[in-house]
């Protein structure tokens, strides 16, 4: 009897320990005084407002994602990205490298993904507005799209929803362009952003550090081209099946948070 009681008590203690640790950490976070830089907040707000007011935009970027292997070795894999956005219901993204090339189309009704290397595609119905469609793509199919923080209707609200602290680090160059360097912290990620110093506050660089993951891997985006003139045709957001492309089933892996098989 005593043995069973001891085992039960031990199980309960071990079961509760992680949660208790996390709650204690959260309480500590709440108790700590927030360090918010008014200048950083102001610069971010103006850049996001400039972006939100653009009815359509197009950009090119070089992105890098770090991965940490079982031995702790950190490697960065890079991709080129081209993104076209037309608010409120048009998105097209091309992600490419010599080994991989994927295209994403959202036309207000359907999200289509094309693997250009394997010449196969898959589609799924989506809600009519881009914000909702991005949520559905993530929640139902576990799709992780780069740079969608720029495509949502309210980039400022999206970016600052969980910010705990912010700092302003002055002017520094990005691809030769003088930019304001801002840094923000959240519970699970830290992120930095570089905003062009001038009348058009383009976001030129973006870094997300996953500080609670082993090795603190980073996602980096270097935006090499901006175009806020509405040059994208409606047809660019509609998928056209390449010759010979095979349609395959779209699924989500529950390990990545998706809910649809």
């Amino acid at each position: 009897m005593n043995r069973l009681f001891f085992i039960g008590l031990l199980s309960l203690s071990l079961f509760c320990a992680p949660g208790a640790i996390r709650l204690a950490a959260q309480d500590q976070t709440k108790a700590a005084p927030a360090s918010i830089s008014p200048r950083a907040e102001s610069l971010l707000r103006s850049a996001c407002q400039f972006l939100a007011e653009a009815r359509a935009f197009s950009l090119s970027a070089e992105i890098g994602r770090e991965h940490v292997d079982e031995a702790g070795h950190k490697v960065q894999f890079s991709r080129s990205v081209r993104m076209d956005v037309r608010r409120p219901d048009g998105l097209r993204i091309e992600i490419s490298s010599p080994l991989s090339a994927r295209g994403f189309w959202y036309d207000g009704k359907t999200l289509t993904i094309l693997d250009r290397k394997r010449n196969c595609y898959s589609d799924a119905p989506m809600p009519p507005m881009l914000d909702k469609a991005l949520e559905a793509a993530r929640d139902e199919f576990g799709i992780d799209l780069p740079l969608i923080d720029l495509a949502v209707s309210d980039p400022y609200k999206n970016a600052t929803a969980k910010v705990q602290t912010s700092r302003y680090y002055g002017i520094s160059p990005v691809l030769g362009v003088p930019c304001h360097h801002l840094a923000f912290t959240q519970e699970n990620v830290d992120w930095q952003i570089w905003i062009e110093d001038g009348p058009q506050p383009f976001i030129r660089k973006f870094v997300i550090t996953h500080k609670n993951s082993p090795g603190s891997p980073e996602f980096t985006a270097l935006i090499t081209r901006w175009d806020v003139a509405d040059r994208v045709a409606d047809s660019d957001f509609v998928f056209e099946r390449p010759p010979g492309a095979v349609k395959i089933e779209m699924r989500a892996d529950e390990e990545m948070g998706g809910s649809k098989k």
Partner: protein, 300 residues
């Protein structure tokens, strides 16, 4: 008492891994959009597809000629030429190989003087002391593999592994330094980092491994997959399970998804559906987490 404590410790680890470690939960790595949204509801458990539990048949896979050449840029390419399928009943002995062939350091399976590769799971002999660490490693590896696939970088990653440059049907005149000699059904094979060699009069043929052969260590970069409670490892188109003496080559379990097809996979269209087939295993392409993947299915 000791067993009960172990059970409690396993339960606690499970809770810690899946509740206490935020990094193991899904996150959108390339945007703040996922991190800053409301927490997702836990998805409904996906029903596990049936698992092929039949014991692996001790047969040798036929060597399949090259059908899908691997794009490899900077590495020195081994000689490529189709070879004859070899009947298992007529094994070739290593001494039949030409005398001028440079057979470098080959060792019996039992003699492993290299350290355990960082990626390799501990040997079965250590099983009594490993369970907690192994469970954590498996959970982390699965999460890392799922994340890699979602970001579509497995093709990049595999380029760094020795086995990515080889496929059944290729030939070479020498064995790599440090390869292991493994005997199976009284026939010697040679193994190095996921590549299997068989002696031929002209050198060595690179072959698909016979099901049942046991190798002392996993190929680098082997992914962990759990099907119905059984832990599988996958690399270079070959599935392994841990067993005494190392890791045994087994038939592909049904219902697992892999990011990269075996190098000798060929396309097959059945009832208007596209499949891929390699060494008796059938793969159905799916778009998983926005990335093309392949799930093992029964023969259609």
């Amino acid at each position: 008492m000791k067993k009960n404590l172990k059970l409690v410790a396993r339960l606690a680890l499970g809770v810690f891994v899946f509740w206490g470690c935020p990094e193991l939960n899904a996150a959108d790595w390339s945007s703040l959009h996922g991190s800053n949204s409301a927490p997702r509801e836990a998805p409904a458990a996906r029903p596990q597809p049936p698992v092929n539990r039949e014991p692996p048949a001790p047969v040798v896979r036929a060597v399949v000629p090259e059908t899908r050449p691997i794009a490899s840029q900077a590495r020195p390419q081994p000689q490529q030429a189709p070879i004859q399928s070899r009947a298992h009943s007529q094994p070739l002995q290593p001494q039949q190989a030409p005398a001028n062939r440079e057979t470098q350091v080959s060792r019996e399976t039992q003699i492993v003087d290299r350290g355990q590769l960082p990626h390799a799971a501990p040997a079965a002999s250590n099983r009594s002391t490993e369970p907690l660490q192994q469970l954590t490693t498996q959970a982390q590896s699965r999460a890392a593999a799922a994340d890699r696939r979602r970001s579509d970088v497995d093709e990049d990653r595999r380029q760094s592994f020795f086995w990515s440059d080889f496929h059944p049907g290729m030939r070479t005149d020498r064995l790599p330094e440090g390869c292991h000699r493994v005997n199976f059904h009284n026939h010697p094979y040679f193994y190095f980092e996921g590549v299997y060699y068989d002696s031929q009069p002209w050198g060595y043929a690179i072959i698909a491994p016979p099901i049942g052969v046991v190798v002392p260590e996993l190929p680098p970069g082997a992914e962990i997959m759990v099907v119905g409670g059984t832990v599988y490892y996958y690399a270079g188109g070959v599935f392994y399970i841990q067993q005494p003496g190392g890791f045994g080559v087994v038939a592909a379990p049904i219902g697992v998804d892999v990011a990269v097809l075996p190098p000798n996979a060929t396309t097959a269209v059945v009832n208007g559906m596209v499949y891929y087939q390699a060494d008796g295993t059938w793969y159905q392409p799916i778009m998983l987490n926005g990335v093309a993947s392949y799930v093992t299915v029964p023969q259609p």
